[in-house]
Amino acid sequence: MKLTQTREALLEDLQATLGAIEKRNTSPILENVLLKIAKQTSYWRGTDLELEIASTSPLLDSTDGEITLPARKLADICKALPAESLIAIDVQEQRAIVSCGRSRFELATLPASDFPDLDDIGETHELVLPEAELKTLLESTAFAMANQDVRYYLNGMLLELTSDYIRTVSTDGHRLSLYTYTQLDKPIDKETQVIIPRKGVLELSRLLRADSQVPVQVQLSQNHLRVQLGKLRFTTKLVDGRYPDYKAAVPAKGQIQVDVDRKAFKDMLTRVAILSNEKFRGVRLSLRDNILVVQSNNPEQESAQDELDILYQGEEFNIGFNVNYLLDAVNHLQHDTLRLQLNAPESSALVTDPLNEAIRNVIMPIRL
C-alpha cells in the first residue's frame, strides 16, 4: 500500500487524530494511528478506547491497503520536513518507508487487524448547531471541571438538552460554571442529560473553530457522543453516572451587586495573587464606601493590597476567595464589565456578565 500527500494535509489528519492517542499506553497499538487507503482516499483513526478521532482526506496518488503506524513519530517527521513538500508513505512487509525529497525514514508497523474499534454506538438522536456556538458551550465552562476527583462524574461536563435550551455545566465541587444556549433553530425533541468525559471535552473544543458558523451535527446515543466536523469524526464514550442537581447550587441573584471593569479587576487580582498563600491562594475582598479593596498575605508574612473604585454604599462587607477561581471566571467572560453578586461571607457568590445572561459562574468562598 502507498500514498502521496502534501505535508500540510498529512499534518492536519495526524494532528487531529493525535488528540485521542496517549503518549504512553500499556498497549503499544494504542500509540499507533490506523491508516486505511481506499479509492484514492486516506482514512486515519486514533483512539484511547474512550475517545476516537478519525480524519478522511483525498489523496494525490495511492494504492489501497491498511496498516497502523507510530503516530507521534510520524507526526514529528512530517513536522520536520520542509513546508509545502510532498510526502510518500510506502508500506512493504512490516515496514513503512516515509520519504520526501532526499529524506527517508523507516518506521515499524503493527497490523491493522489488531487495531481496536469503539463499540457500536447504537441508535442516536441528533442536533445541529453552528460550530462556533458548540465551541463556546464547551469552553465557557470547561475550566470548572474536576480533575481526577473520586466523584468520577465531576471529571466531565454535563450536557443538558431541553426543548428550550442546550446547557453545559461543569463543577469541581468548589465552583460551578454554566452556559445556556437558547438560539435553537427547532426545539429539541428528546430531553436528555449526558456527561462528556473531561478529555473528550478538551479534545473536542480543540478541534472546533471559533470563527466558523458551519452547522455541526452532534449525535447522542445511550453511551456515546459523536460529532461530525467536515472531514473529521469525533466520538467519545459518555460517563456512566448521574450528575448532581446543580440547579440548587446556583443562586438566583445576590443581595449585594457590584459591577466592575473586567480588565481592571483581572489585573488587580493578578497583582495581589503574587503574595497569596501558594497552597490556598486566598484573597480577601472588602467592599467599603465606593471602593473595593483586595488583600492577600502568605506564611512568610508578606502582603499585598490593591483598590478599585466601585458603586457601593453600605456596611463594610468582607469575603475570601481562591484567587484562581475568580481569575478563571473573569477570564471566561467576554464583555468589558462583569457583575459580582454576593450574599454572605460564607455563601456562594455569582460572577456574571451583565450583558449576557447565558453565563453563570458560582464560586464558594474561603472561610478567612
Binding site: N147, Q148, V150, T171, G173, H174, R175, L176, P244, D245, Y246, A248, A249, N277, F280, G282, P299, G320, N322, E346, S348, V362, M364, P365, I366, R367, L368
Partner: protein
Amino acid sequence: MTDTSLRKIIHIDMDCFYAAIEVRDNPVLRGKPIAVGGSPDARGVVATCSYEARQFGVHSAMPMKTAMRLCPNLIRVAPRRAVYQAVSAQIHSIFSAYTDLIEPLSLDEAYLDVTAASQHQGSATLIASEIRQRIWQELQLTASAGIAPNKFLAKVASDWHKPNGQFVIRPTMISKFMLTLSVKKIPGVGQMTSERLAELGVRTCADLQTWSEEKLCAEFGRFGTRLYDLARGIDHRPVSVDNTYKSISVEDTFATDLPDLVSCYAELPALFQALKQRLAKAQETQRLVPKSLVVKIRFHDFVLTTAQTTTSLVEQHLFLPLIKQAWERRQVPVRLLGVGVHFAEPWRPEQLSLDL
C-alpha cells in the same frame, strides 16, 4: 495538580545514630552490645542500641531494665543530646550542598528532594552515595539511603540494605516491587492494622491491591484511601521544609512511681516551668497560638492515657483538672507525667464546598 511522578527523593537514615556516635567517641565500646538511654534504676528507656545489642532482642523504646535482662553484658551509655544535635546539624549542612528541600524527621533521619539537583547529572543514586561517603569522611558515621520517586518508597528503600547501604526503587520497578512488599512495611500499619489485615487475608501489597478504595475506607476509615495509594506505591506528599511547631511538651519518668493524685500535683510546678521555658524559646522564632493543653500519664503498668482541654491560655492551674481527669481513670501509681501545648494551625483558610 503538580506533576509528582518525576520526583527524586532520598531518605537518609543514620545507622544506630546515638550508639554509633558513642562508639566513635569511645572506641573501647566497638564491637560490644551498648545501649544509649536512661538508667534502669531511674526507669530509663533505650533510645538507640548497637547491632550487637539488637542480636539479644534489645530495641529502642524498650525499658532499660528489660534490655539489661535480655542482654546482661549490655553497656549502658547516658545520652549526650547536645552532641547528637551538633552532629545532626553537620549532617544537615552536607545535605544542603545538594538541595534546599530537606525535611528532617528526627536528628537521625531526613527526606531530601533532589529532583532539581545538578550534581552527577542529577543522578539521585550517585548523590546519595556521595552524601553517605561525605558523612563517613567528615563524621566517621555510616548512613543508609533509599532513593525513589516518593517519600514512602524512599523510606522503605533505606531499610532494604541497612546498615551502611543504599537501594534504589526506579519508577519502572514500582509495580513489581509492590507485589512482594509486606503490608507491615507501610508506615501507619502497626501491629493492630497488620493483624486486622492478616485476618482479611492481606499480607502483601499485592493482596492489598485487590481491594477497592471504597472497601478499604469501609474497613479502615480515612486511612483506607492512603492504604489504597500506598499499596500501589503512590505517595504525593511533598518533601516539606515546614518546621513550624504543632505542639510542645515536656514529660518526666520518675525514679519511683508517684503513688497518688497529690504527688502528681506536686510534680506539676517543675514540669510547667520547663514547658514555659521551651515555649518561650520557640516563640522567639515563630508566632504560636496555643489551641489546647494536654496532660499525658503513663501508669506503672505502662497503660497510657491523655486528657486535654481547648484554651488559648497556658497557665499552670489549668493543668490540675486535666491531671485529675487522667489519673482518675485508673487510680494506680504513675510512672510518667507529661504536660504540653498544642498550637492552632497557622492561618489556614478553609475552602467551602458547593451543596451538590
